[in-house]
């Protein structure tokens, strides 16, 4: 990397650290309690250009690579994981546009990606992220496609204005199309009431015969499955970054408390049982950092990163939940109190054992790849 590139990446990191410390961390607990972003907060994210971090300069974005973006998301998650996940959902979707979108589509949509959120939707009520059982249909009508179906549990659903949707064609081929909220036949459904990441909206869209031109197709007919998987991979790197950020937060709370609280006359951090927990959290945090960073590097270098991305999220999510549990134990009664953020960090981390493919699904993927080596 050139010096300028490193400097720019450091500046971005500092900017996110400042923004997070000033705008997000102080209201982290409030966001959890409210179950939403307070009025005006998302607009601040937009106004400060954070939606455009990965968007190429030609579309009005800042054109940072995935390494810088993951680092930024990591820094943000230290203060508030919900907003970091909102950015994750947006960035991974932009990645699919860039990789699979036709020039006409990119020209139409990407210039607005600094102002509005793009989302990627696969899941339907018929079952999980497993795309084979979906019922959303894309029917060719002249030069256009008619999309009909329901998508649920979409990260940023309701907040996002542009959606990539996985659909089946008449000949049962998988394909991804782009729809937006202003199209006739588009409707928002209900918002999920999840126990964690309570700021990040997760919701439903209902598509009733939405007509889109042919260039709204990402990639080719039959490529839907691959694009869906690629979106998962891109999301998982960034979720690894979110999880490492959550663990950094958990570690800080545990360390601060252990330095300040005494058991009789011994500071907690001098007790081996406490040290054990602090070390475990620190190691898990470090490992997750290495995994997500390596994933981002592989992606940026154009090398295969699917397995590492799965590891970052699988290992990271389980570790962050268990690290939260350990931090809670360090704080004992205070840790169990809603006055301290640990309990919500555990709930936040828990989401990522499920979203973008369950831990079990990821581990199957990892094992399959290992066996095939």
């Amino acid at each position: 990397m050139t010096n300028d590139k490193v400097s720019a990446q450091n500046m971005l990191h500092r900017m996110i650290v400042d923004f997070t410390a000033n705008e997000l961390a102080p209201i982290d607990m409030k966001i959890d309690q409210l179950g939403d972003y307070p009025e005006g907060l998302f607009q601040k994210v937009v106004d400060n250009g954070l939606l455009g971090i990965t968007l190429p300069r030609e579309y009005g974005g800042a054109g940072f690579d995935y390494i810088a973006a993951a680092q930024a998301i990591n820094a943000m998650a230290f203060g508030n994981a919900s907003m970091a996940v909102t950015l994750e959902g947006h960035f991974k979707t932009i990645s699919q546009f860039l990789k699979y979108g036709q020039p006409e589509l990119l020209a139409k949509y990407l210039p607005s990606a600094t102002k509005r959120i793009f989302a990627f939707s696969q899941t339907e009520s018929s079952g999980g992220s497993n795309p084979t059982g979906i019922s959303t249909r894309a029917v060719k009508q002249g030069d256009d496609w008619i999309i009909t179906g329901d998508k649920i549990m979409i990260t940023n659903g309701g907040l996002a204005q542009v959606y990539c949707v996985l659909a089946k064609t008449e000949d049962d081929q998988m394909a991804v199309f782009v729809v937006d909220q202003d199209m006739p036949g588009f409707q928002f459904g209900k918002r999920e009431d999840f126990i964690g990441l309570r700021g990040t909206p997760v919701g439903e869209i209902v598509m009733d015969h939405i007509k889109v031109p042919d260039y709204h197709l990402l990639g080719e007919i039959g490529q839907g499955h691959e694009i869906g998987n690629n979106a998962h991979d891109d999301a998982r790197i960034l979720m690894g970054a979110v999880l490492a950020g959550i663990m950094k937060h958990e570690l800080k709370i545990a360390v601060d408390y252990s330095k300040q609280r005494k058991a009789l006359d011994t500071p907690l951090y001098e007790l081996q049982t406490i040290q054990e927990k602090i070390a475990d959290i620190a190691i898990a945090k470090q490992n997750t950092e290495l995994l997500y960073q390596h994933g981002a590097e592989l992606k940026t270098a154009g090398e295969p990163y699917s397995e590492i991305a799965a590891m970052a999220k699988s290992y990271g999510s389980r570790s962050a939940v268990s690290a939260g549990d350990k931090a809670l134990q360090v704080l004992a009664g205070y840790g169990y109190s809603r006055e301290y953020p640990i309990e919500h960090l555990i709930r936040d981390a828990r989401a990522m054992e499920i979203a973008e493919g369950t831990v079990e699904k990821m581990n199957t993927e990892i094992a399959t790849k290992e066996v095939a080596k």
């Binding site: 102080p26 982290d28 607990m29 709370i253 601060d256 408390y257 300040q260 609280r261 005494k262 205070y334 006055e339 301290y340």
Partner: protein, 319 residues
């Protein structure tokens, strides 16, 4: 060049800025054989020297002109330059107030000498005035001298030294000079402000209440005490649920970071979230029934006992 130590006496309206008097006492303390001189700029009707004299400078030099009312920094620096260039003191001290820190460097530039800002201490080493000042926060101290040029100039932080009255024969000199108005600046108005900040992060005194002081009686007394001490009432997070308090009153990580001169904690245990908000408080007094409460580790004074009883005693005894 003479060996005198001069102290600039700052006058705000009719009131002498207390730091000036503190500096006269400090100068006398370190002077040895060196005469201490108070330097006053005032309008013709003011007689600041009468008060200044009580603090025992060997000499007072006054510069009188009606235009010192609403004078600009540049005009004051110009007047001072005339007398300082003429009488050539060894050292010249200013209060590190806004005015002192604005006028002194302009004068420094005219005299082409050194100036050390915001000193916490000064002493003589031979003829060198050693100026001790903090740098990088208050973690690192720096000793600065100005070996070859005179006067040696410093601005000194308020309220580090005590002003002590001292009777001596003080010679008063009315120095004649020419007031040169600065053409391109005009002081339009000066409006006094009462130093009661509505923001707890800027309050000089804070009475903080925690879960152990969460009852009507204590809250009412705390408000009274804050009134008496010219301070504000702050709370730890649990009390923000009370109707009378909001996030504005909250101290701690998710609330306000405070830096008062005096903080009195009632019924606060001192959880980390709270402790980070009070790190910059100067004097911390804590009252808690639990002798092992972590707050005591962050306190200068500890009272193990009932918040209400201590508060009542304070209310009685504070004038």
């Amino acid at each position: 060049m003479n060996n005198e130590i001069w102290v600039f006496v700052q006058v705000n309206g009719q009131i002498i800025e207390p730091t000036s008097l503190q500096l006269i006492t400090k100068a006398r303390e370190i002077a040895g054989e060196r005469p201490v001189v108070a330097l006053i700029t005032e309008t013709k009707t003011m007689n600041v020297e009468t008060t200044v004299k009580e603090y025992g400078p060997d000499k007072i030099v006054t510069l009188k002109d009606a235009q010192f009312h609403n004078a600009s920094d540049g005009e004051i620096a110009d007047a001072l330059d005339q007398v300082v260039s003429d009488l050539k003191p060894n050292s010249l001290l200013f209060p590190a107030t806004v005015l002192g820190r604005s006028v002194a460097p302009r004068l420094q530039a005219k005299l082409k000498t050194g100036l050390t800002a915001d000193c916490l201490d000064i002493y003589f080493d031979g003829d060198d005035l050693v100026q001790v000042k903090p740098t990088y926060g208050d973690d690192i101290m720096c000793e600065i001298i100005c070996p070859d040029v005179r006067p040696q100039m410093a601005t000194i932080r308020p309220n580090i030294f005590k002003a002590v009255k001292h009777s001596t024969d003080t010679e008063i000199i009315n120095y004649s000079f020419a007031f040169h108005p600065e053409a391109n600046i005009e002081v339009l108005s000066e409006i006094p402000v009462i130093n009661s900040s509505a923001n707890i992060s800027e309050a000089k005194t804070v009475i903080a209440l925690g879960r152990g002081a969460n009852n009507e009686k204590v809250i009412e007394k705390a408000e009274k005490l804050a009134g008496k001490l010219g301070g504000m009432v702050g709370v730890s997070r649990p009390l923000t649920d009370n109707d009378e308090f909001s996030h504005e009153n909250q101290i701690g990580q998710s609330g306000n970071t405070i830096a008062p001169d005096l903080l009195i904690n009632f019924g606060i245990s001192g959880a980390v979230q709270y402790a980070v908000g009070i790190e910059n408080a100067k004097k911390v007094v804590s009252i808690n029934t639990d002798a092992h409460a972590p707050i005591f580790g962050k306190s200068d004074y500890a009272f193990v006992g009932d918040a209400d009883a201590f508060m009542s005693a304070l209310l009685e005894q504070v004038r």
